[in-house]
Homo-oligomer: 119 residues x 2
């Protein structure tokens, strides 16, 4: 369902914003209910937001799903929040796809990365 | 590996902190390398930190793992960061368990939750 390469979004220079979205799906495999297509479309669409820095996603089968979107500043985040197609997807999410969710919008104050050295 | 019930940590009253830890493991199933035991121990230990609000975790098999820890304030976060056993686990993580990781420490400015209504 995801086209992201398997590597986490790197640490950027603070400050920047992280939007942490944690959810439980009504239909865990998400097949046939349009979720997958919409998620792909949103991943495409968010790339066009100036100040979009990247996205991390993980989903435990049968369990929790976490998506973290990173944005340079509050304006970028607001532009994504106000996007018409994104708003329609959020509404459909509440109507169909999500059993529950939490959104935490946070300003990153500190970040660090690690990459294993290989011979 | 996890003892958390399948529900996301609820929205708390801002401000609070979210520590977003995204990682790729060297050994994806994590069996037999001590990762699982250490992760369980850390989940136990963090409960004792005053101001600890909860933790969300998701892991895509063969892919990304995301852990988000929530803390009431910077002091709570610092106490967890400085915990001796936690520091030893972090060191072992860099030596053995993680291919790469990123940590984003962020102050939550806004949060919201959704729960599906059932008849």
């Amino acid at each position: 369902m995801s086209h992201h390469p398997i590597e986490p979004v790197p640490a950027h220079e603070p400050p920047y914003y992280a939007a942490v979205f944690t959810s439980i799906w009504t239909d865990d495999d998400g097949e046939g209910n349009g979720y997958g297509e919409t998620a792909e479309r949103m991943e495409e669409l968010v790339q066009d937001i100036p100040g979009y820095l990247g996205m991390d996603q993980a989903h435990t089968p049968g369990g929790l799903s976490i998506t973290v979107g990173y944005f340079r500043d509050a304006d970028a985040l607001k532009e994504w929040r106000d996007n018409v197609e994104h708003r329609a997807a959020q509404q459909r999410g509440r109507a169909e796809w999500y059993e529950r969710y939490t959104l935490h919008v946070a300003k990153v104050e500190r970040s660090q990365g690690f990459k294993r050295e290989r011979d």
